[in-house]
Symmetry: C2
Subunit: 190 residues, 2 copies
DNA sequence: AAGACGGGAGAACGTGCGTTCTCAGCTCTT
DNA sequence: AAGAGCTGAGAACGCACGTTCTCCCGTCTT
């Protein structure tokens, strides 16, 4: 097995197991069994468990934002439609089997104070999501795109937390309505 | 040392350590050392670590909601003022040294899939906060108090997550502004 | 006053984890 | 063809944790 292929299988396994069960509930042996990559190779690819967790988070960040952006660009006709489309995508995400909240929030709660690299990856993810939302609010004629992006991020994270804890995907709906209200309240009169 | 006093010291120590470092980073030995309660007594009061975690969460829930309600009732003159006051309190909470996000969200991320009792305590807390917010939205003349309470809960949890990850207490401000916008948008014309 | 009781301190035990080491087999060079 | 080097499987090691056990001391009853 080639080095690159082993890395991919390890990252896929890490995402599957760490997200589903939490980081500290998954041992390196479970990663090895599920991935079929030997421990020796595993430690060649990632020098420690923490390094594997960081790599998993960075990869998940890119894929997560990619899926969001793809959905929004393919479902929103106008710039105004893009903002509610973000919450439509959240709803479909919440409905996926195995949804268990935001991997970054979960990892931060679990490892934040003890693993600085993980905390940095989580912060980076939130900054990138915020930048994406700022791109959306900057494309419509609102008074304060920065503030609106902050508010949307808060609604996104809040909806995700509530959907995870309550197990109710419909938690996306009031947040979507809130986003629309906030957007229209800030729209400049033409 | 009396039984009740030992319990209180254990719960105080548990709150201090579990919240600051996370549950699995704090051993029972650390609880014992910090509290001064012997291991024997500890296991007489709480039969397992999970039981201690649950008791800590239930106690923190009551104290947290109590502090919120006290602040709101003493700082809000009218029913309309109560809703922004919630976010003012969040801001003061975020500014406290040692703030590390929502203990319930953190515990859920860390233990959710493996500890059903913890997950239930977290759900209960969110339901009680929602009920409190519903009490506030029901006291003003809005079209849909249920939806507004859902939205406020989302903003509260979102602001808390973002403040914890970014380390920036000002994360409360856009959420407060959003709450005010949502409230005024729903106010019935007199 | 003496013995039974309870409590504190900490050792002990079993388990599970992250990480490294061992060993046997396969592959590729010369 | 032979040996060097890499690979995978899994044992081994050290450590930390949750939980229980042991021992010794103070206290309270009769």
């Amino acid at each position: 097995m080639r080095h690159e292929e082993a890395k991919i299988r390890l990252l896929e396994t890490a995402e599957e197991l760490f997200y589903a069960r939490g980081v500290h509930a998954v041992g390196m042996d479970a990663i090895r069994t599920h991935s079929g990559v030997s421990l020796k190779r595993l430690y060649q690819c990632f020098p420690s468990k923490e390094a594997l967790v960081e790599a998993y988070l960075l990869r998940r960040d890119e894929r997560w934002r990619g899926r969001l952006a793809d959905y929004v660009t393919s479902h929103a006709e106008t710039s105004e439609d893009a903002i509610p489309a973000v919450f439509d995508w959240l709803h479909t995400w919440f409905c996926e089997p195995g949804f268990r909240g935001c991997a970054f929030v979960n990892s931060f709660g679990e490892l934040g104070p003890t693993a600085p690299g993980v905390a940095a990856a989580v912060r980076l993810h939130k900054e990138l999501v915020h930048a994406y939302l700022l791109g959306l609010t900057g494309a419509v004629a609102v008074k304060n795109p920065e503030e609106l992006a902050d508010q949307l991020l808060s609604l996104v994270d809040g909806a995700t937390v509530i959907a995870a804890i309550s197990g109710e995907p419909a938690a996306a709906l009031p947040s979507k309505a809130a986003a629309v209200t906030l957007l229209t309240a800030q729209l400049q009169p033409v």
